[in-house]
């Protein structure tokens, strides 16, 4: 053990080589908790540190990853009309297809994000902060499965530089980094992240080709070569089975109401997540297990989760009560909860401690407002079929204001005490 430590210590670059030293320090503190001892103040310290906090959130996402990987493959082959038995038919192929599809996304998100973090850490001369561990795990899960990698890299770079480093690094950002990356794609390249055709991976990337997936599929479909000037995705879209749609339940609900959703997806499918959508947000039970883990470990704020749930339910009920100005409003509130990415946003996005309100009362208000605003954007806005991303970013901006008023209440309570005394 100590020999290994000595061995690793030999590679420590000199402090003058800033970037190398920061890089080494980042990986070294990852492998070994540092030997720092308390200096002033308390002599013993809690075993909890930021690495552990962040890593536990990543762990809570693990099930979402597993399901997301499988679902990419499932949707892909469903679009092609292959493995048409049930969800588990062709499990191996589906899983491997999904894994090969998500791997480049995962790697690009981390290389770009961590690269920028390392660069800024070296530049500012502090050690690497762990903020991106969670952002990097979240970003692939909220992207469409066939997002072009250059677009992803650009979005991550934008989010980390403009969203975080410009404000001073981890702990200083105003907006949620992962959502900022998504909103960047959303507004800069709307074609890639809206409509009915972006939520399923049709194409094959070079990894798939390397493992022969494209050839196997073409053989199974009985085609020898793609027509001139046609990508695989276009070919597939022109030849999808009749019963198949790549539209998400929300898109269907916006057009045709609850009946339209029911025509294509059963409640069972929507609850367990075998539907098109962003990679990690479809499987509700696994998200709820992650949420349970965060609450039990005390890492995610149950206040935000609960009040967001209440806010969304109440707004949904209100819309049901107002009636059907358009079809979406009449969708019963209980279905609204698991048609889209509500639970994912609730468990992992709204609870980001840096961008959420920081007082207990403020958290309740913050969560409730997200629930309300999110439902309004989702249902009443004709342009965006889902509301949580925009609602959370919107409330991120308002979180300091909420805190301000909560603190002001505390301050005036104290002042009143002086006057009455």
């Amino acid at each position: 053990m100590s020999k290994l430590l000595d061995f690793i210590k030999k590679f420590e670059p000199p402090k003058e080589k800033k970037f190398l030293h920061t890089l080494y320090d980042g990986f070294f503190t990852f492998a070994y908790a540092p030997n720092h001892v308390t200096k002033s103040g308390v002599h013993i310290r809690d075993g909890m540190d930021l690495k552990r906090t962040m890593f536990l959130v990543v762990q809570a996402l693990a099930l979402c990853y597993i399901f997301g990987i499988y679902n990419i493959g499932h949707q892909h082959y469903a679009a092609l009309g292959m493995y048409e038995g049930n969800f588990f038919t062709g499990a191996g192929a589906k899983f491997i297809y999904g894994a090969l599809q998500i791997l480049p996304i995962f790697i690009v998100a981390h290389v770009v994000g961590l690269g920028i973090e390392f660069f800024y850490a070296a530049k500012k001369g502090h050690s690497i902060e762990e903020g991106f561990l969670v952002s990097g795990a979240l970003i692939p899960l909220i992207m469409p499965p066939d997002i072009p990698l250059w677009m992803l890299g650009l979005a991550v770079a934008f989010a980390v530089i403009i969203g975080k480093e410009a404000f001073g690094g981890t702990g200083m950002n105003v907006l949620n980094i992962a959502l900022l990356a998504r909103v960047f794609v959303f507004f800069a390249y709307p074609g890639e992240i809206s409509g009915d055709f972006c939520w399923v991976a049709y194409d094959y990337n070079w990894l798939h080709k390397l493992f022969g997936f494209e050839g196997a599929t073409m053989a199974a479909l009985g085609i020898e070569a793609l027509p001139e000037g046609m990508t695989f995705a276009k070919y597939v879209l022109a030849n999808t089975p009749d019963a198949w749609t790549g539209a998400t339940p929300l898109a269907l609900a916006a057009k045709e109401g609850w009946a339209g959703v029911q025509a294509n997806y059963s409640n069972f499918e929507m609850f367990w997540g075998a539907i098109p959508g962003s990679i990690g947000e479809t499987c509700k039970p696994f998200i709820l297990i992650g949420a349970l883990m965060l609450i039990v470990l005390g890492i995610g704020s149950w206040r935000i989760m609960l009040s967001m749930l209440v806010g969304a339910i109440l707004t949904g009920m209100l819309m049901n009560w107002i009636g059907d100005f358009h079809a979406f409003m009449a969708v019963p509130w209980q279905y609204q909860l698991y048609m889209g990415s509500f639970f994912f946003a609730m468990a992992f996005m709204a609870t980001d401690p840096v961008t959420a309100a920081s007082t207990p009362m403020g958290k309740l208000i913050y969560g409730f407002m997200i629930g309300m605003v999110g439902m309004i954007i989702r249902v009443l806005n004709p342009a965006y079929p889902e509301g949580w991303m925009l609602a959370i970013l919107f409330m991120n901006v308002f979180a300091p204001l909420i805190d301000y008023y909560v603190l002001q209440a505390n301050i005036s309570k104290r002042l009143k005490r002086v006057k009455s005394a």
Binding site: T38, I44, G47, R52, W302
Partner: protein, 546 residues
């Protein structure tokens, strides 16, 4: 346990809600059935795993003999813990304040209730820097080689020359040491075998008016034991405090048991309280241990002429600042005074016996000691004898005057601090830990639920000084609030101090806090922020601003 129980119910109800929603979906009865069945199976599986784990836990506890303590080693609360009365019988009908927030850090090495004379000291030191706010170079009126009696003046602050700081024992001044910038470090006295005391006309409390009483206390050195809030400094004799507080228990880790320390000192303690009663127009408040397991001694519960409040809850319920907040909070412009219970007895003895004999019962604690015990010594005692032949292993140690949260690191031949009645010896853990941040089974005290201690509530830890991580920007919120049982937002207060926003510091209640109150916030902080240091700086800024 209870909080976690509630949380899991909350999330289970999420799941239940989803199932309910699903069951509403008419048209797919089989779907609803499948979901319901799957949920039930999942639940049964979870319960089964939990039960098996729980059984293992209890079996393990029995095997290692840990269950002899009759503590609850199961994950589940006992029926009596759910339905039983939370309040102990001796608290019924009393003025009890229940504090829910906070955290007890259970450490190994509590002092055995024996007074061991082997630990008694020969040399003593008084350290000006123990008195916050004193100028660094006080006027020292003795020189090396002088003979002093217990109670003779050693030095005074040039800013407040009336308040005298006196010798704890009679003997020879062996040294006056200096620190950086010629600041006086310590005045060291070698004690005589036979103690002699400075002679006074034995005062009669009833015959002194308040002004003469204060003059007498300042001259005899007793004044330096009285501290004031806000700012947690030695009290200003010009003030008229709205109340005086004495917390009769210490809830800090391994803290001395005041019931034991003050046994047989009933008359002195009561007399001390009477003296304090003359110093204020308001009340003298006594904060009494209301934690269910303990039963405070009659010396506290039967004290007269005071307003008694029982405090039930984890640390920091014994901190005087918390008790002030819940009985008579400090507003802007208010001054309250407070005193340690053992010092109240010293004050009482001055009036009962006419001598200044500042003896305290000191707890010598820590997992690194062979014999953690008590000793009766005057203040500022040398720790040399306390540590001699008393260190267990070969590991590097750290010696702390005070408790592990608020104490000051000292050398192995140094002296206890002026206000400290505890010595803690802990393991100086400057080792690297491979994947130290990752291990789910690390035995480390923690406020979070991510270590085995979250379930094994009775587990005691070996205290060690590793920071368990590096300093980071503040990320996690709500953590400080969860361990500070006050209507204060400590994290926002700390931020206000960091940006020097006076108005906000004042508004958020900086006057109500002393560093010791936020020590637990500092312990719990995921980002390893030095909360006590920041708060002290904030308090000093406010004090300078007037």
């Amino acid at each position: 346990m209870k909080i976690r129980f509630k949380r899991s119910i909350l999330v289970l109800s999420f799941l239940g809600l989803a199932t309910f929603v699903e069951a509403q979906a008419i048209g797919g009865l089989s779907n609803a059935m499948t979901i319901a069945l799957a949920t039930v199976v999942l639940l049964i599986l979870l319960v089964a795993i939990t039960l098996v784990g729980d059984t293992f836990l209890r079996v393990e506890a029995r095997e290692i003999g840990a269950d002899e303590s009759k503590a609850n080693y199961s994950i589940f609360p006992r029926l009596s813990e759910i339905f039983g009365t939370r309040r102990a019988s001796h608290l019924l009908g009393k003025n009890v304040v229940d504090l829910k927030k906070g955290h007890d850090i259970l450490l190994e090495g509590a002092a055995e209730k024996v007074i061991d004379t082997n630990f008694a000291a020969k040399t003593f030191a008084v350290r000006p820097r123990d008195f916050v706010g004193m100028s660094p170079i006080p006027k020292v009126v003795v020189e090396k080689g002088d003979e002093v009696k217990a109670g003779d003046v050693l030095f005074y602050d040039k800013k407040r020359p009336d308040i005298k700081y006196v010798a704890p024992v009679s003997g020879e001044i062996v040294d006056v040491t200096r620190a950086e910038k010629r600041a006086i470090d310590q005045v060291i006295i070698l004690a005589d075998k036979e103690q002699s005391y400075r002679a006074y006309n034995k005062p009669v409390l009833e015959e002194l008016d308040r002004e003469n009483l204060i003059t007498f206390l300042m001259e005899t050195g007793l004044w330096s034991f009285i501290r004031q809030r806000p700012f947690d400094v030695v009290a200003d004799p010009g003030d008229n405090p709205k109340a005086i507080f004495v917390s009769t228990f210490d809830s800090a880790p391994l803290a001395p048991d005041m019931n034991f320390a003050l046994k047989g000192r009933e008359a002195d303690f009561q007399m001390g309280l009477n003296v304090l009663g003359r110093l204020t127009d308001g009340k003298v408040h006594l904060g009494i241990d209301g934690r269910a397991k303990s039963n405070p001694a009659a010396i506290f519960t039967e004290a007269t002429g005071v307003h008694k409040t029982w405090f039930n809850g984890p640390h920091p319920s014994g901190n005087v600042g918390i008790q002030i907040h819940h009985t008579d909070p400090i507003n802007k412009g208010d001054v309250v005074w407070h005193m340690n219970p053992q010092d109240v007895a010293i004050l009482g003895r001055l009036f009962n016996e006419g001598i200044f004999k500042p003896e305290r019962v000191v707890a010598i604690t820590g997992a690194e000691l062979k014999q953690p015990r008590y000793v009766r010594v005057p203040m500022g005692a040398s720790v040399e004898n306390m540590l001699k032949d008393n260190i267990k292993g070969e590991d590097k140690i750290r010696v702390v005057s005070g408790d592990v949260l608020t104490g000051r690191q000292i050398g192995e031949k140094d002296y206890l601090g002026f206000f400290d009645d505890q010595l803690t010896v802990l393991f100086e853990n400057d080792n690297y830990a491979m994947f130290g941040w990752l291990s789910p089974f690390a035995i480390v005290p923690s406020v979070s639920n991510t270590f085995p201690g979250a379930v094994l509530k009775e587990m005691e830890y070996r205290a060690e000084t590793n920071t368990h991580g590096e300093h980071r920007a503040l990320v996690v919120t709500g953590q400080y609030e969860s361990v500070l049982p006050m209507d204060v937002y400590p994290q926002h207060l700390i931020k206000a101090i960091l940006v020097n926003d006076f108005e906000r510091m004042e508004g958020l209640g900086i006057y109500e806090l002393a560093p010791e109150d936020v020590a637990l916030c500092e312990f719990a902080c995921t980002s390893k922020t030095e909360v006590q240091k920041i708060l002290r700086e904030g308090l000093e800024t406010m004090r300078e601003q007037g």
